[in-house]
């Protein structure tokens, strides 16, 4: 029983770390721009497909391909911000949300045209399995956890220690004041979209290595990302980390011990419970602090 628990806990943390990466991108965008960037999941899948394409056709390894895809994803994010979201920045928030829905359609279906309808599994070659005291740790899952942790730490340093990170936090805290202090809000917006999209692509690659990149995965991914935001509090980075891990763990526990068909229902019940008793989220503070 204890072995089972630890096994499920490990599995849950692995899934949860991917949710965290998705949610981090969403939460930074929300914190800075107040946009529910629904197309984030499609951008992640675009990156997953692209990584597979690089590995197959350029013959380069997993990590260079992933890095290239993250750069491409960041570019895509900047383009989306400039072309689609920027024009509606002063309109009611619902407009940006509808734009996001439109972008989701465009990117999702472009993925189909560019990469075909088949699901692809990103080859990693990490096939070993470690076993400690009856608990199995597949090599791939360990690396996923490590990669996610490295990215989260890198993001935290970027936001906390660099000049650009400081500008991002300033805009999140008080937009008008940041503008008066001479911060270029447009540049910050583009930076945030690039950064978030790169993180999203990383999540997409990890999903593609662990499960598969396929049409239809993206909407599930983005909804989980938003569920994490509700758990952790919109715009909060620690909230996204805690919320993501919590969602992943509760989901695997629900699958293992209750019912796999209803695992998403349990995740959403958790969300509604948080809303009832702590509607500001578990870790809500001022955005991206």
């Amino acid at each position: 029983m204890l072995v089972d628990l630890i096994q499920q806990l490990f599995n849950g943390l692995v899934i949860g770390s991917i949710y965290t990466l998705v949610a981090l991108g969403l939460t930074i965008i929300f914190g800075i721009l107040g946009i529910a960037h629904f197309a984030h999941g499609s951008v992640a899948m675009f990156g997953g497909y692209l990584t597979f394409f690089f590995i197959q056709s350029l013959g380069i390894g997993l990590f260079p391909s992933m890095a290239l895809a993250m750069v491409a994803g960041a570019l895509l994010g900047v383009i989306l911000e400039r072309v689609a979201y920027h024009p509606v920045r002063n309109a009611p928030p619902i407009n940006a949300f509808i734009i996001a829905l439109g972008l989701t359609l465009i990117i999702e279906k472009s993925n189909l045209i560019l990469f075909g309808v088949d699901q692809v599994i990103i080859p990693t070659g990490f096939d070993r399995v470690f076993e400690i005291g009856g608990v199995t740790f597949p090599e791939l899952r360990v690396y996923i956890l490590v990669i996610a942790a490295v990215l989260v730490i890198a993001l935290t340093i970027l936001i906390q220690k660099t000049w650009m990170g400081m500008a991002v936090r300033a805009v999140a805290q008080n937009r008008p004041a940041a503008i008066l202090m001479g911060i270029n809000v447009d540049a910050v917006s583009m930076f945030v979209f690039g950064l978030s999209s790169a993180l999203g692509v990383a999540a997409g690659v990890l999903v593609g290595a662990l499960f598969a990149v396929a049409p239809g995965v993206s909407s599930g991914l983005v909804v989980k990302g938003f569920a994490v935001l509700i758990l952790g509090g919109l715009g909060s980075i620690p909230g996204a980390i805690i919320g993501g891990l919590l969602l992943g763990v509760s989901e695997t526990f629900a699958t293992a011990f209750i019912s796999s068909a209803y695992k998403d229902v349990i995740a959403f019940l958790l969300m509604i419970g948080v809303l009832l008793f702590k509607p500001e989220g578990l870790m809500r503070r001022s955005a991206t602090r």
Binding site: L105, F226, L234, V265, L275
Partner: protein, 326 residues
């Protein structure tokens, strides 16, 4: 004055429609369009007038459709009763779901309702003994024929069902007009414009928001029942999140917070896929691009734009004709 003439013309056109275009295909599309108009009008009440975006309308449509179908198949109720009772089932479901979710605002609320729709969908797929799962519920009866002397209204005929749905749409329009023009409707619009101020003025906003949510869900449930008895077969697919998004798009495209905008929008969301008969994938891309362009360049939607245009043409300057204006 011109406005009433136009409304009468549209009603006359709708009544004459099955006799002008006798093709079954067009009548089928018109029936679907009117069912979607009811859903969109429901979405308009919560989204357009109250300012809360609910992404659960298709889910509630599903609750209405399945409860009406099950009441008539399993419980043996007459179809008329089933159709009239199913909105109340939907109302109860939305009351339970709305209470916790209306504690939060804005994007939070949208996301929670989205999750709600996913839960409804998961239950429809997995509660196989009752819903039949993915393979759906076949053999849903049409409403019983109405016989008056020698004259028989047979609802298995498409034309007859067309008039049933048209009547239902007219009823819904009257209800929505009554609500929107009432004190409750004014409070809802006050909530959309400034909830804090409304609260400070002594309005118990949560009651009005809950009413708005339940009312809009009930309309969706009613539309779902009409859909079930028209198609004679339902499966979970039409009640997924994608279709909730469709309802939102209909409201935005047509013009949110206007009485006629959602009708225009719903007709477009049904007609566009049929007109753009290129490969499905390309069509959806065009759809997405169109959506982005409309939101950037016509943020109020098509109907207010058309209304302004016609006002310009008829040279009216007073501008209080349409309640299109926020």
């Amino acid at each position: 004055m011109i406005r009433y003439v136009l409304i009468l013309a549209v009603i006359a056109g709708a009544i004459a429609f099955p006799h002008l275009l006798t093709s079954n295909y067009f009548i089928h599309l018109a029936i679907l369009a009117m069912i979607w108009m009811i859903v969109a009008q429901g979405a308009n009440v919560i989204q357009g007038y109250t300012g809360y975006v609910s992404i659960a309308q298709a889910g509630f449509m599903g609750i209405g459709a399945y409860s009406s179908a099950l009441l008539s198949i399993e419980a043996g109720f007459p179809v008329w009763i089933a159709i009239l009772v199913s909105p109340f089932f939907t109302a109860v479901a939305s009351l339970i779901a709305g209470y916790p979710s209306l504690r939060v605002k804005g994007h939070y609320f949208a996301i929670v309702t989205l999750a709600m729709n996913m839960v409804i969908f998961i239950v429809l797929v997995n509660w196989i003994p009752v819903t039949g799962g993915e393979s759906g519920l076949p053999g849903i009866p049409a409403p019983e024929p109405i016989v008056i002397g020698d004259f028989e209204l047979n609802f298995l005929r498409r034309n007859t069902y067309y008039y049933l749905v048209l009547a239902a749409l007219a009823l819904v329009m009257l209800l929505v007009v009554a609500v929107v023009r009432s004190r409750v409707g004014l409070v809802l619009q006050a909530i959309r414009q400034n909830e804090t101020l409304a609260e400070a003025a002594g309005v118990a906003c949560w009651r009005y928001k809950l009413f708005s949510f339940v009312f809009s869900a009930s309309l969706a449930g009613f539309a779902g029942a009409l859909y079930a008895h028209y198609q004679a077969f339902i499966s979970p697919a039409p009640f997924s999140v994608d279709h909730s998004l469709n309802a939102i798009l209909a409201v935005i495209l047509g013009g949110s917070g206007t009485l006629f905008g959602p009708l225009v929008g719903a007709a477009l969301t049904v007609a566009l896929p049929e007109v753009l008969r290129v490969a499905e994938t390309y069509r959806l891309i065009i759809y997405g691009v169109g959506l982005v362009i409309v939101v950037i360049f016509l943020p109020r939607g098509l109907y207010p734009w058309l209304a302004d245009l016609s006002r310009g043409l008829f040279g009216r300057k007073d501008g209080n004709g349409a309640e299109a204006h926020r």
